[in-house]
Amino acid sequence: MKFVSIRSRLIFWIGLTVTLILSVGSYVVFATVRSTLNEEIEQNLESTLTLQSLELEMTDGTIYHEWLHDIENDAVRRKTSYIQVWNEANGETTRSPALVGTDLPKFLGSESIQFSNVILPNGHHGRVIGRQVFPVVEWTGQSDRASHVETANIQAHYMAIALDVQVARDALERLAGTLLLGLVFSLLISFVTIRLIIGISFRPLARLEQVIVHTDVQDPQAVFEVPQDLPTEVQGLVASYQELFGRIGQVRERERKFSANVAHELRTPLAGVGATLEQALAVEREAGDYKQRIECMQGIVQGMGELINRLMWFSRLYNKSESVVVGVVDLGLVIETRLAILAEQAAARGLVIDGDISSEPCVIHSDETLIGILMNNLIGNAVAHSDAGSVVRVVLQPVAEGARVCISNVCASFDATELAHVFEPFYRSDAARSGDGAHSGIGLALAQEIAKLLHVDLDIHFSAESVFSVEMHFGANNLKFS
């Protein structure tokens, strides 16, 4: 039997066990008492039969029923003694008065036979014992007893004695009733007690439920308070719940920080748009002046658009909701395309792009769009933060089972202690801060998420010569998708 409720399961199985134990116990008690009583009665009957059989006498060939004589002279026994004797030779039968002409059961044979359920003339239940008996031979002559017995014609008789066991039977019935009643009462008490114990045991769980229900998951400071009297059996579960709540809290905190950072990143350019617009409209201006301000706002809005685009990608990757579309990606082509796009920006900063792209095809199985974003962020980062007039080096080499890409640039103002933080979302080193707001601190974090998703090994280094380098290995893992 399957139960969804623990309470029902416990009540059923404990109840069933208690029922079985009590039933078996009650039966054993009843059976023992009955057996003892029956044994007592049987011994009693056996003794009585033995004694009464001595009261069957034969004197000088004549049978005398002394037992009957004794009964008839005793007013009580006349009503309570049930004895019948059959002469097996001639079939004559002699009954005690209490039998009022009715017969007791009779079997032939020398062994004692018992009948346990006989209805007596008074309507009571009785037990009967019977066996073959021989009369006691008496003599009156001068011959010795032995020779007399040898010459006597001893006739076999069958004697049956019944005992009214109605009182014992009634007592047994009362005992059975009492035991049954006790069993039912015990079961009821057991069920109530079990239910009560289970109810008490479950109270801490109910309180725990209330704690869980009333725990404000919106509040990052909310504490999940576990009831002190929680059963040890569920403490493991509660610990797991606490851990889960902790993880939920961490996720919420991360989301909260992410939202706050997003808001922060968008507020400043929004303030720039608002202030530029307000200032543009503050006084009448020449058309050229308006144009200049509108262009300024356009630049801010484009920057915001790019930021939102990056945030969307980051959010999808961060929450594992971006699916990978696997295809054949020519890394050389992707890198050369990015270098061409960034050439103008690099030239404006006086940078020299040193592209060492292998002539051998470096083809991997990966997501072309994500690889494009990865390269765009890393090469774009190098172009944006490289010291003016320096060299940005991009190397692509085929290696065993894949390819290696290294992007390096010189950045004297970069603080090596910040190396550990550059992949943190929204982290910007001082060297990466610029007044145009083009860098939100999401680019490297986005690159790392893409690298994780595509199984690309990504490492960063900063040398004593102030060279910041990003190294990627598109290894065997990139073949997983193929």
Partner: protein, 225 residues
């Protein structure tokens, strides 16, 4: 009034500087914390407006350095960080006001006026010297009920003297608080504008407002002959 703006986001900084200058303030601006702190430590400003997230030195570090040096110059934080904790952190670090981005430039100007007024111990926005009254938000000057038309420079000069009414103000102080460093650098520029102002405030009843303290500077004080 001389204002220092420390904000690394160029479009916002440009708009704020332009707006403050249009409102008649002399403005210095910096795009990073280190330079901003240098400005703050080496010049006398009426109000400093600063962002928190700045390159090299953040806004809170600048606040602590300035307050640590015992300077009581009013400081207004402008920040995208909008939580109560952020505001408390900024105000506890020594800021006098906290403005969350994005904000209206008009509101920024009003807060600058309020901080400046407070710094000079003026409770109201209407300053009176004799029968001369100066409406600070409207930038209007009345003598009795007759309006006196002043140029922007003349008004700024009068406003500064009015804020320091009764005090002797040196030419250097006037230069520092009213003029931009990049403009008219002639040595007698202050005297010339004081002369213009005197003429416009002059009356036929012999009352004067701007007194010359030889070798010390000027004092705005109502005097009748």
């Amino acid at each position: 009034m001389r204002i220092l703006v420390i904000e690394d986001y160029t479009p916002l900084r440009t708009a704020m500087v332009e707006s403050l200058e249009t409102a008649g303030h002399a403005v210095d601006a910096s795009g990073d914390g280190e330079e901003g702190l240098w400005y703050a430590q080496n010049h006398d400003y009426d109000t400093i407006i600063l962002d928190i997230m700045l390159p090299k030195l953040n806004g809170l570090q600048i606040l602590e350095a300035i307050r640590g040096a015992g300077k009581g110059v009013p400081m207004i934080i402008i920040s995208a960080r909008d939580t109560v904790d952020n505001r408390i952190e900024g105000l506890d670090a020594g800021a006098d006001d906290y403005l969350v981005k994005p904000f209206a430039l008009k509101e920024l100007l009003a807060r600058v006026r309020a901080q400046t007024r407070k710094a000079y111990g003026k409770a109201t926005t209407l300053l009176t010297v004799g029968d001369l009254s100066i409406d600070l938000p409207a930038k209007r000057v009345l003598r009795g009920d007759q309006e006196i038309k002043l140029t922007s420079r003349e008004y700024n000069l009068l406003e500064y003297l009015a804020l320091r009414e009764g005090e002797v103000v040196s030419r250097q102080e006037i230069w520092d608080h009213v003029y931009n460093y990049y403009e008219d650098a002639s040595s007698n520029a202050v005297d010339v504008y004081i002369g213009y102002l005197r003429k416009k405030l002059g009356s036929n009843d012999g009352t004067t407002y701007i007194q010359t303290r030889r070798g010390q500077g000027y004092q705005l004080e109502y005097q009748t002959l």
